[in-house]
Protein backbone atom coordinates (compact mmCIF):
# COMPACT_ATOMS: atom_id res chain seq x y z
CA UNK A 1 0.00 0.00 0.00
CA UNK A 2 1.33 3.42 -0.87
CA UNK A 3 0.57 5.98 1.73
CA UNK A 4 0.63 9.76 1.33
CA UNK A 5 2.81 11.56 3.87
CA UNK A 6 3.10 15.28 4.51
CA UNK A 7 5.84 16.84 2.36
CA UNK A 8 7.62 18.44 5.29
CA UNK A 9 8.98 16.55 8.29
CA UNK A 10 7.65 17.54 11.71
CA UNK A 11 9.66 19.51 14.26
CA UNK A 12 11.63 17.76 16.98
CA UNK A 13 9.35 16.27 19.62
CA UNK A 14 10.16 15.99 23.34
CA UNK A 15 11.83 12.81 24.48
CA UNK A 16 11.18 10.58 27.43
CA UNK A 17 11.57 10.66 30.35
CA UNK A 18 9.61 13.81 31.12
CA UNK A 19 7.13 14.90 33.73
CA UNK A 20 4.08 16.97 32.91
CA UNK A 21 1.29 18.33 35.04
CA UNK A 22 -2.05 17.33 33.58
CA UNK A 23 -5.14 19.55 33.50
CA UNK A 24 -6.27 18.09 36.82
CA UNK A 25 -2.97 19.06 38.44
CA UNK A 26 -1.68 15.52 38.61
CA UNK A 27 2.04 14.95 38.02
CA UNK A 28 2.40 12.48 35.14
CA UNK A 29 5.69 10.80 34.22
CA UNK A 30 6.06 9.84 30.59
CA UNK A 31 8.76 7.17 30.37
CA UNK A 32 9.95 4.47 27.96
CA UNK A 33 7.92 1.31 28.54
CA UNK A 34 11.16 -0.64 29.01
CA UNK A 35 11.59 1.21 32.29
CA UNK A 36 8.11 0.34 33.48
CA UNK A 37 6.77 -2.84 34.91
CA UNK A 38 4.84 -4.92 32.36
CA UNK A 39 2.47 -6.05 35.10
CA UNK A 40 1.35 -2.48 35.74
CA UNK A 41 0.61 -2.19 32.04
CA UNK A 42 -1.45 -5.39 32.17
CA UNK A 43 -3.32 -3.83 35.11
CA UNK A 44 -4.14 -0.78 33.02
CA UNK A 45 -5.63 -2.89 30.24
CA UNK A 46 -7.64 -4.97 32.70
CA UNK A 47 -9.17 -1.68 33.94
CA UNK A 48 -9.78 -0.41 30.43
CA UNK A 49 -13.41 0.27 29.53
CA UNK A 50 -14.37 -2.11 26.68
CA UNK A 51 -16.46 0.71 25.19
CA UNK A 52 -13.22 2.59 24.51
CA UNK A 53 -11.78 -0.20 22.39
CA UNK A 54 -10.96 0.62 18.79
CA UNK A 55 -11.01 -1.91 15.96
CA UNK A 56 -10.65 -4.88 18.28
CA UNK A 57 -7.86 -3.62 20.54
CA UNK A 58 -7.03 -3.75 23.35
CA UNK A 59 -8.27 -7.30 23.85
CA UNK A 60 -10.57 -7.83 26.84
CA UNK A 61 -9.40 -11.09 28.41
CA UNK A 62 -6.19 -11.17 30.43
CA UNK A 63 -4.57 -13.93 28.39
CA UNK A 64 -5.27 -12.10 25.14
CA UNK A 65 -4.01 -8.83 26.67
CA UNK A 66 -0.72 -10.52 27.61
CA UNK A 67 -0.32 -12.06 24.19
CA UNK A 68 -1.03 -8.74 22.47
CA UNK A 69 1.37 -6.85 24.76
CA UNK A 70 4.09 -9.37 24.01
CA UNK A 71 3.81 -8.50 20.31
CA UNK A 72 3.81 -4.74 20.72
CA UNK A 73 6.47 -4.60 23.45
CA UNK A 74 8.83 -6.48 21.15
CA UNK A 75 12.37 -5.13 20.62
CA UNK A 76 11.69 -3.43 17.28
CA UNK A 77 8.67 -1.54 18.62
CA UNK A 78 8.80 1.77 20.49
CA UNK A 79 6.62 2.22 23.58
CA UNK A 80 6.05 4.90 26.19
CA UNK A 81 3.79 4.85 29.23
CA UNK A 82 2.29 7.64 31.32
CA UNK A 83 2.45 6.99 35.05
CA UNK A 84 0.62 8.73 37.89
CA UNK A 85 2.40 7.53 41.03
CA UNK A 86 2.35 3.75 40.52
CA UNK A 87 -0.65 3.67 38.23
CA UNK A 88 -0.15 3.37 34.49
CA UNK A 89 -2.62 5.91 33.13
CA UNK A 90 -1.78 5.61 29.45
CA UNK A 91 0.32 3.85 26.86
CA UNK A 92 1.43 4.69 23.33
CA UNK A 93 3.12 2.40 20.84
CA UNK A 94 4.85 2.38 17.45
CA UNK A 95 4.86 -0.98 15.67
CA UNK A 96 6.76 -1.53 12.40
CA UNK A 97 4.92 -2.74 9.30
CA UNK A 98 6.48 -4.49 6.30
CA UNK A 99 7.43 -1.23 4.59
CA UNK A 100 9.67 0.12 7.32
CA UNK A 101 6.92 2.49 8.38
CA UNK A 102 5.35 2.45 11.83
CA UNK A 103 1.75 2.21 13.00
CA UNK A 104 0.84 4.30 16.05
CA UNK A 105 -1.80 3.76 18.71
CA UNK A 106 -2.50 5.32 22.10
CA UNK A 107 -4.66 4.27 25.01
CA UNK A 108 -5.58 6.39 28.01
CA UNK A 109 -7.45 5.03 31.01
CA UNK A 110 -10.93 6.56 31.36
CA UNK A 111 -10.15 8.38 34.64
CA UNK A 112 -7.24 10.16 32.93
CA UNK A 113 -8.91 11.13 29.67
CA UNK A 114 -9.44 14.75 28.66
CA UNK A 115 -6.51 15.99 30.75
CA UNK A 116 -3.85 16.40 28.06
CA UNK A 117 -2.15 13.08 28.76
CA UNK A 118 -2.90 11.70 25.29
CA UNK A 119 -1.16 14.65 23.64
CA UNK A 120 1.88 14.31 25.93
CA UNK A 121 2.03 10.58 25.20
CA UNK A 122 1.87 11.00 21.42
CA UNK A 123 4.43 13.82 21.37
CA UNK A 124 6.84 11.95 23.61
CA UNK A 125 6.39 8.74 21.65
CA UNK A 126 7.19 10.57 18.41
CA UNK A 127 10.24 12.15 20.09
CA UNK A 128 11.40 8.71 21.16
CA UNK A 129 10.74 7.46 17.62
CA UNK A 130 12.90 10.27 16.20
CA UNK A 131 15.87 9.17 18.33
CA UNK A 132 15.30 5.61 17.10
CA UNK A 133 15.49 6.76 13.47
CA UNK A 134 11.79 6.26 12.70
CA UNK A 135 10.63 8.63 9.97
CA UNK A 136 7.22 7.48 8.73
CA UNK A 137 4.33 7.01 11.14
CA UNK A 138 0.69 6.29 10.32
CA UNK A 139 -2.47 5.43 12.21
CA UNK A 140 -6.13 4.71 11.68
CA UNK A 141 -8.92 6.30 13.68
CA UNK A 142 -12.67 5.80 13.58
CA UNK A 143 -14.31 8.64 11.67
CA UNK A 144 -16.63 9.56 14.55
CA UNK A 145 -13.74 9.94 17.01
CA UNK A 146 -13.39 13.72 16.74
CA UNK A 147 -11.33 14.24 19.94
CA UNK A 148 -8.69 11.77 18.70
CA UNK A 149 -8.65 13.22 15.18
CA UNK A 150 -8.10 16.77 16.50
CA UNK A 151 -5.37 15.55 18.84
CA UNK A 152 -3.51 13.92 15.94
CA UNK A 153 -3.99 16.99 13.73
CA UNK A 154 -2.69 19.28 16.47
CA UNK A 155 0.46 17.14 16.75
CA UNK A 156 1.03 17.34 12.97
CA UNK A 157 -0.66 14.31 11.44
CA UNK A 158 -2.44 14.84 8.14
CA UNK A 159 -5.29 12.77 6.75
CA UNK A 160 -3.84 10.41 4.14
CA UNK A 161 -7.00 8.48 3.29
CA UNK A 162 -10.63 8.99 4.21
CA UNK A 163 -12.19 6.45 1.85
CA UNK A 164 -12.60 3.70 4.37
CA UNK A 165 -14.57 3.06 7.59
CA UNK A 166 -11.54 4.44 9.37
CA UNK A 167 -9.64 7.59 8.59
CA UNK A 168 -5.95 7.05 7.97
CA UNK A 169 -3.50 9.75 9.07
CA UNK A 170 0.25 10.08 8.60
CA UNK A 171 3.22 12.15 9.76
CA UNK A 172 6.80 12.45 8.53
CA UNK A 173 9.44 12.73 11.23
Amino acid sequence: MTRTYPDEPAEAFPQPPRTITDRKDRPIDVIPADDADTESLVEMYLDFDPADRAQGIPPVKEEAIREWLETILDGDCVNVVAKHDDTVAGHATLVPDNEDEHELAIFVLQAYQGAGIGTALVETLLGYGQTEGIDHVWLTVERWNDPAISLYEKVGFEISSAESFEIEMAIRL
Binding site: Q55, I57, V95, A105, E163
Partner: protein, 123 residues
Amino acid sequence: MKLLLGVGGSELSYQALTETLERVSETGDELTVAIFENGDIDADLETVQQRIQEHIDESGLEPPIRHVEGTSPGSELVNIAESEGFDRIVLGGGGRSPLGKIQLGPIVEFVLLNAQTPVTLIR
Protein backbone atom coordinates in the same frame (compact mmCIF):
# COMPACT_ATOMS: atom_id res chain seq x y z
CA MET B 1 -30.59 -21.31 1.98
CA LYS B 2 -28.85 -19.98 -1.13
CA LEU B 3 -25.35 -18.77 -0.25
CA LEU B 4 -23.06 -16.66 -2.39
CA LEU B 5 -19.46 -16.95 -1.23
CA GLY B 6 -17.01 -14.45 -2.70
CA VAL B 7 -13.35 -15.51 -2.85
CA GLY B 8 -10.67 -13.07 -4.00
CA GLY B 9 -7.46 -14.91 -3.16
CA SER B 10 -6.50 -13.45 0.23
CA GLU B 11 -5.55 -15.92 2.97
CA LEU B 12 -8.69 -14.95 4.85
CA SER B 13 -10.80 -15.65 1.78
CA TYR B 14 -9.43 -19.22 1.56
CA GLN B 15 -10.13 -19.64 5.25
CA ALA B 16 -13.70 -18.48 4.66
CA LEU B 17 -13.97 -20.98 1.79
CA THR B 18 -12.84 -23.89 3.98
CA GLU B 19 -15.18 -22.92 6.81
CA THR B 20 -18.11 -22.42 4.48
CA LEU B 21 -17.55 -25.77 2.74
CA GLU B 22 -17.49 -27.51 6.14
CA ARG B 23 -20.63 -25.73 7.23
CA VAL B 24 -22.47 -26.41 3.99
CA SER B 25 -21.73 -30.14 4.16
CA GLU B 26 -23.56 -30.12 7.51
CA THR B 27 -26.46 -27.86 6.61
CA GLY B 28 -26.98 -28.79 2.98
CA ASP B 29 -27.22 -25.11 2.02
CA GLU B 30 -27.04 -24.33 -1.67
CA LEU B 31 -23.59 -22.79 -2.19
CA THR B 32 -22.24 -20.85 -5.15
CA VAL B 33 -18.56 -19.84 -5.15
CA ALA B 34 -17.87 -16.53 -6.88
CA ILE B 35 -14.24 -15.80 -7.79
CA PHE B 36 -13.30 -12.15 -8.03
CA GLU B 37 -10.13 -10.25 -8.71
CA ASN B 38 -8.84 -8.50 -5.63
CA GLY B 39 -6.49 -5.63 -6.52
CA ASP B 40 -4.68 -6.01 -3.19
CA ILE B 41 -3.62 -9.59 -3.97
CA ASP B 42 -0.44 -10.37 -5.91
CA ALA B 43 -1.46 -13.83 -7.16
CA ASP B 44 -2.91 -14.07 -10.70
CA LEU B 45 -6.44 -15.28 -11.32
CA GLU B 46 -5.32 -18.70 -12.53
CA THR B 47 -3.44 -19.43 -9.29
CA VAL B 48 -6.40 -18.26 -7.24
CA GLN B 49 -8.75 -20.45 -9.29
CA GLN B 50 -6.49 -23.46 -8.84
CA ARG B 51 -6.31 -23.05 -5.06
CA ILE B 52 -10.06 -22.67 -4.84
CA GLN B 53 -10.54 -25.83 -6.87
CA GLU B 54 -8.16 -27.72 -4.55
CA HIS B 55 -10.12 -26.65 -1.48
CA ILE B 56 -13.38 -27.67 -3.13
CA ASP B 57 -12.03 -31.04 -4.26
CA GLU B 58 -10.92 -31.78 -0.70
CA SER B 59 -14.39 -31.08 0.60
CA GLY B 60 -16.04 -33.58 -1.73
CA LEU B 61 -18.73 -31.01 -2.57
CA GLU B 62 -19.40 -29.73 -6.07
CA PRO B 63 -20.64 -26.16 -5.74
CA PRO B 64 -20.96 -24.20 -8.97
CA ILE B 65 -18.07 -21.79 -9.50
CA ARG B 66 -18.50 -18.55 -11.35
CA HIS B 67 -16.46 -15.49 -12.13
CA VAL B 68 -17.29 -11.99 -11.04
CA GLU B 69 -16.66 -9.70 -14.01
CA GLY B 70 -15.94 -6.01 -14.02
CA THR B 71 -13.78 -3.64 -12.09
CA SER B 72 -15.95 -3.39 -8.99
CA PRO B 73 -16.22 -6.88 -7.49
CA GLY B 74 -18.09 -5.65 -4.42
CA SER B 75 -20.86 -4.07 -6.41
CA GLU B 76 -21.05 -7.06 -8.75
CA LEU B 77 -21.38 -9.48 -5.81
CA VAL B 78 -24.24 -7.40 -4.47
CA ASN B 79 -25.89 -7.39 -7.93
CA ILE B 80 -25.61 -11.14 -8.32
CA ALA B 81 -27.03 -11.77 -4.86
CA GLU B 82 -29.98 -9.48 -5.48
CA SER B 83 -30.83 -10.43 -9.04
CA GLU B 84 -30.51 -14.17 -8.53
CA GLY B 85 -32.30 -14.53 -5.23
CA PHE B 86 -29.40 -15.39 -2.93
CA ASP B 87 -30.29 -15.32 0.77
CA ARG B 88 -26.86 -14.40 2.05
CA ILE B 89 -23.43 -13.22 0.95
CA VAL B 90 -20.41 -14.74 2.70
CA LEU B 91 -16.95 -13.16 2.63
CA GLY B 92 -13.66 -13.59 4.43
CA GLY B 93 -11.93 -10.49 5.73
CA GLY B 94 -10.97 -8.39 8.69
CA GLY B 95 -7.22 -8.89 8.70
CA ARG B 96 -5.14 -7.23 11.38
CA SER B 97 -2.82 -4.24 11.17
CA PRO B 98 0.75 -4.54 12.54
CA LEU B 99 -0.42 -3.53 15.99
CA GLY B 100 -3.51 -5.68 15.93
CA LYS B 101 -6.34 -3.45 14.73
CA ILE B 102 -8.96 -5.21 12.68
CA GLN B 103 -9.21 -3.75 9.20
CA LEU B 104 -11.77 -4.29 6.46
CA GLY B 105 -10.73 -4.08 2.82
CA PRO B 106 -12.67 -1.96 0.33
CA ILE B 107 -14.52 -4.91 -1.22
CA VAL B 108 -15.81 -6.24 2.09
CA GLU B 109 -16.72 -2.73 3.14
CA PHE B 110 -18.68 -2.11 -0.04
CA VAL B 111 -20.64 -5.33 0.35
CA LEU B 112 -21.42 -4.70 4.04
CA LEU B 113 -22.73 -1.22 3.29
CA ASN B 114 -24.63 -1.96 0.10
CA ALA B 115 -25.97 -5.50 0.25
CA GLN B 116 -29.73 -5.92 0.58
CA THR B 117 -29.20 -9.47 1.87
CA PRO B 118 -27.61 -10.43 5.19
CA VAL B 119 -23.81 -10.65 4.98
CA THR B 120 -21.62 -13.05 6.93
CA LEU B 121 -18.06 -11.88 7.48
CA ILE B 122 -15.75 -14.76 8.41
CA ARG B 123 -12.65 -13.56 10.21
